[in-house]
């Protein structure tokens, strides 16, 4: 537990130190999202701007008004859908670059290169490997997750058809198994990325090393992730409470909502950087880097710059 707390603290501290990179990642996402949204906003503005009956949409999702709107602009739902798909695809590419940039910055705190240089070089240097790893792990996770959930799906179907069987344990079990597979994939990806950045390894060997790291210390990896997830959850909860308390029927209040949204995105980005920093610290404890000048592979008792003892492997 103390190890997890220390890892989380270390991650948060690293993220704070690298707050400019957090700002950079937030800005990248904001610019991309804004660019994708602008044509839709223009289209929406041109149709609802003069329609008082559409004002009800400022209170949230109103199905009747949205159905009317879709009838008035039949292409609008499709445009939103296409944008979503395009951004999702873009997200995979951007994620490969951003993860490389962030890890490069986190791993080179003492360097003289500017943050922009380090981020850009990391993004470029690891882009291909990270992208390939993400696609491979994503595909494997879908297959393994699907196979693991299959029996639960059959039990669920049988339960809904006959009314007898394990009841709600079946769909809940399926969801739990699917969630675990997804979590394992995310942790393996992070561990692999960190390994690749540390050792400049290839994608496949990085994945093997990452998988081994996570499977040997599942509690440490899961605990590190969970501590970070709790913080993300708290931020989301605060945002939801704010959204419920503040109406959005006027311009100033809409601005407040936008600020709250961006604050949440910023905090979420910061916590993602913190997670990567915590995981980097965890890898450092599990497999300390060789000191400068030391023989590669030689056992290392203590890593300079690290305040905690290595975790027994």
């Amino acid at each position: 537990m103390r190890t997890l707390a220390a890892l989380t603290r270390e991650g948060l501290s690293e993220a704070w130190a690298a707050r400019r990179v957090v700002l950079l990642v937030w800005l990248i996402h904001l610019v991309l999202a804004a660019a994708a949204t602008f044509p839709l906003w223009q289209s929406l503005r041109s149709v609802v701007g003069s329609l008082p009956e559409a004002d009800v949409l400022r209170t949230g999702i109103v199905f009747g008004a949205l159905t009317d709107l879709a009838e008035m602009r039949p292409g609008l739902p499709g445009a939103f859908g296409a944008t979503l798909v395009a951004v999702a695809v873009l997200g995979v590419l951007v994620g490969a670059g951003v993860n490389g940039g962030v890890l490069e910055v986190l791993s080179g705190s003492g360097e003289r290169r500017s943050l922009g240089q380090r981020f850009g070089q990391g993004a470029g240097r690891f882009f291909g490997r990270f992208l390939g790893m993400a696609l491979l792990v994503g595909a494997l996770a879908a297959i393994v997750g699907g196979l693991a959930m299959l029996p639960f799906a059959q039990l669920t179907r049988s339960y809904f058809r006959t009314g007898s069987g394990p009841g709600w344990l079946a769909p809940l079990g399926g969801a739990a198994v699917g969630g675990l597979v997804l979590l394992l994939a995310l942790l393996v990806l992070d561990a692999s990325r960190i390994h690749v950045v540390r050792s400049d390894a290839g994608g496949l060997s990085g994945l093997r090393a990452g998988l081994a790291l996570v499977l040997r210390h599942p509690l440490l990896w899961g605990g590190t992730w969970l501590a970070n997830a709790v913080l993300v959850g708290m931020a989301v909860l605060l945002f939801v409470l704010f959204r419920q308390a503040v109406p959005t029927d006027r311009g100033a209040l809409i601005l407040a909502m936008v600020l709250a949204q961006q604050a949440l995105v910023f905090v979420r980005t910061g916590l993602r950087v913190a997670l990567l920093a915590s995981e980097t610290a965890l890898v450092e404890r599990l497999r300390p880097s060789p000191r400068p000048g030391a023989t590669v592979g030689a056992p290392t008792a203590r890593q300079s710059g690290s305040s905690a003892s290595p975790v027994p492997v």
């Binding site: 999202a33 906003w41 949409l57 949230g60 199905f63 709107l69 944008t83 999702a88 058809r161 995105v265």
Partner: protein, 690 residues
């Protein structure tokens, strides 16, 4: 068979005649029982393993006409499931049995013996008829020629024996595993309509084939039914159970009786959880509610008073957490329909929860017995806020009124049945549960909003009135949704009080009767004190949708007079094109122009409201006959917006969003959604980049 072609003239003339005697109609006393035309005494045995029924039936039929009648027409509706050549299967296009075990699932009924009570064998005097189509293979209507005609007012008694096999793909009737929903199972007479019934010029049998969309039209009578089946089954049926007899062969005979009904159905399942509650009128309805109802309807307190009803709920055990939801919905329906239309006259109401996999028998209505329909998902939060089970129960109880008692012809005029029930259902749900139909994860869907959402200009708008087998493409929309919206529109045009009295009077007058559309038109015009023929002729008898739109709104400085003026001075002026009126012009005067369009074929008179800055709004009437109308206003106040139908009376309008337009655009809504969307995209970017 009744003719289906209708000239509109008589409709309008009838409505006009009715409206001529203006003022509220005198309240008819609420009929307590039907004029019994046919009585049934049936003994049936279920072979639960073979899914077979063996039955004996004695029926007594009274000739209701003023002429002798020499034949009887029967429904043999289980034969709809005999093979894929039946009209029912042809109409359903195979969709009803796709994916089911057809080989083991075919059903049907055979009459093994038919005699007059005096022993005269009628087996040689029968033939299958197909009055609705050219399908020689359909065996759902049987015609029996009598040796001698039955004189007016006299009776004929027949004894029949039948063997039936229940269908295994459970569409409305049949079985799944040990769950049986036994409807349309015995040889049942059609309706002999004397001349004058529903506009008929000559008397004749009205006995339609079993169709994919309709199955109800029969005469009232008294039933005594004895059902024998293995004693492990829990049984429910139309009417009141009067006796249980345990037999030596491990079976039990359940005896049910019910008067004043036109059908009989029953159900059996060993897994049923039986819950019995009493709807106690004195507990369920407060004195204030009685007073309010009596005032609303213009009836005496005695006329609106309800009676106690025993509610029997047969629930699947896995739905036990929904027990109170089912009971509450049934009681709410008994209460509000009873108050508004007339007290529920029967002693029992049985609500059946179909077994898993038996959803095809859900949402069915038989006299005093309905099937509900729910899912495990609705057991728990947050999906327990979705009122689907309540919707189904309230709807099917509504059919006790619109079909069970006001027994219109579902085949020929389904809108009087399903449409009236849908309209009534929404009212009960709003009254009992509030305006929200479903709420989950912060999302809400209103009762009326749900109906309006499916009213889209792109759909097929058949005339609402039409035979069920002709409205095949968008039956549910045309018959259920559009009728409900049409009646809601009528209510908003007439006012709640008048519409309540229309519905009450229609029910009172036709309780235990067979009305047609014209009968409703007459009552509506009579009670409203105005000829409503135009309304029904446009909304019910003709196809088309309603959509009014404010196409443009402009308001600018009035440039003053131009052209060659009387004083001989010539000036050239142009109207300002900008909406905000920033161009030069008369600073004390604004010229405003509004263009309103009618986009649909349906024409209803409508109000247009012009809203000015710093001044009260002005309302203009438009009859809607032309495709568009332009309003111009010149005055000291700038026009801010124009609204068609500002009081939201025309809920038939397919698009509410285009009913109003403002002169100056406001980007707040687009910005709200734009920023929200961008936020979601940022979330997507960060998630897929993990």
């Amino acid at each position: 068979m009744a003719t289906l072609t209708r000239p509109l003239g008589p409709i309008l003339a009838l409505a006009t005649l009715a409206a001529a005697g203006t003022g509220p109609a005198p309240a008819a006393p609420l009929p307590e029982r039907a004029h019994a035309v046919v009585d049934y005494d049936i003994r049936v045995r279920l072979d639960a393993e073979e899914k077979r029924l063996s039955g004996e039936e004695r029926l007594v039929w009274r000739n209701p006409a003023s002429e002798p009648i020499g034949e009887l027409w029967f429904h043999l509706y289980l034969n709809a499931f005999r093979n894929s050549k039946s009209t029912f299967f042809r109409e359903s296009g195979g969709g009803l049995w796709r994916g089911r075990d057809v080989e083991d699932g075919w059903g049907g009924i055979d009459i093994t013996s038919i005699r007059r009570a005096d022993g005269v064998d009628l087996a040689g005097a029968t033939s299958f008829e197909h009055p609705d189509d050219d399908n020689d293979d359909d065996r759902t209507v049987l015609r029996v020629r009598l040796p001698e005609p039955v004189p007016p007012g006299e009776i004929v008694t027949l004894d029949l024996a039948f063997e039936a096999r229940l269908p295994g793909f459970l569409v409305r009737t049949g079985y799944v595993r040990d769950y049986f929903l036994v409807g349309q199972w015995f040889p049942k007479l059609g309706v002999y309509e004397p001349a004058g019934t529903r506009g008929r010029l000559d008397g004749g049998w009205n006995c339609h084939q079993f169709h994919s969309q309709s199955e109800f039209y029969a005469d009232f009578g008294d039933y005594h039914v004895e059902i024998t089946l293995p004693d492990r089954f829990v049984v429910g049926a139309t009417g009141r159970k009067v006796e249980d007899r345990e037999n030596e062969d491990g079976t039990t005979t359940h005896v049910y009786e019910q008067a004043n009904v036109h059908d009989f159905a029953w159900t059996a399942d060993p897994r049923f959880l039986e819950v019995r509650r009493t709807f106690r009128a004195d507990d369920e309805v407060s004195p204030g509610e009685y007073d309010e109802t009596a005032r609303l309807l213009g009836r005496s307190l005695e006329e609106v008073r309800l009676q106690d009803v025993e509610v029997v709920l047969l629930l699947q055990p896995e739905h036990a957490p929904q027990r109170e939801r089912h009971i509450r919905a049934a009681k709410a329906a008994l209460k509000w329909y009873g108050l508004w239309y007339g007290r529920y006259p029967h002693a029992t109401l049985t609500v059946v929860d179909p077994a898993s996999g038996g959803g095809g028998s859900g949402g069915m209505e038989y006299p005093t017995l309905i099937t509900a329909g729910t899912r495990h998902l609705f057991n728990w939060w947050p999906l327990d806020r979705i009122l689907e089970p309540e919707d189904v129960i309230v709807h099917e109880v509504g059919h006790q009124y619109w079909q069970g008692m006001v027994a219109s012809n579902e085949f020929e005029e389904p809108w009087l049945d399903e449409g009236f029930t849908t309209y009534s259902t929404a009212k009960v749900l709003v009254q009992e549960y509030g305006p929200v139909a479903a709420e989950a994860f912060g999302l809400r869907l209103g009762q009326l909003e749900e109906l309006r959402m499916s009213n889209r200009a792109r759909r097929d708008f058949d005339p609402i009135r039409g035979p069920a087998w002709d409205i095949s493409r968008d039956y549910r929309f045309d018959i259920y949704t559009r009728t409900a919206l049409t009646l809601e529109t009528l209510e908003r045009l007439l006012g709640e009080e008048t519409m309540s009295r229309v519905m009450r009077t229609y029910h009172e007058r036709w309780r235990f009767g067979h009305p047609g559309s014209e009968d409703f038109y007459v009552v509506a015009s009579e009670v409203a004190g105005q000829d409503l023929g135009w309304f029904f002729e446009r909304t019910v008898e003709r196809p088309g949708f309603l959509d009014y739109e404010v196409a443009s709104v402009r308001s600018g400085r009035d440039p003053g007079p131009g052209g060659i003026l009387d004083d001989g001075a010539a000036a050239t002026v142009s109207l300002p094109e900008t909406a905000d009126g920033t161009e030069d012009g008369n600073e004390d005067s604004w010229r405003s122009v509004v263009l309103v369009r009618r986009r649909g074929e349906l024409v209803l008179p409508v109000e247009v409201e012009l809203q000015f800055e710093g001044a009260p709004p002005e309302r203009r009437q438009w009859d809607g006959r032309d495709r568009w109308v332009r309003y111009e206003a010149t005055g000291p106040h700038r026009l801010v917006a124009a609204v068609v139908d500002p009081d939201d009376r025309l809920v038939l309008d397919v698009n509410r969003l285009n009913n109003a337009r403002r002169a100056q655009t406001d980007h707040a809504t687009a910005t709200y959604w734009g920023t929200r969307w961008a936020f979601w995209l940022q979330t997507v970017l960060s998630l897929v980049g993990l």
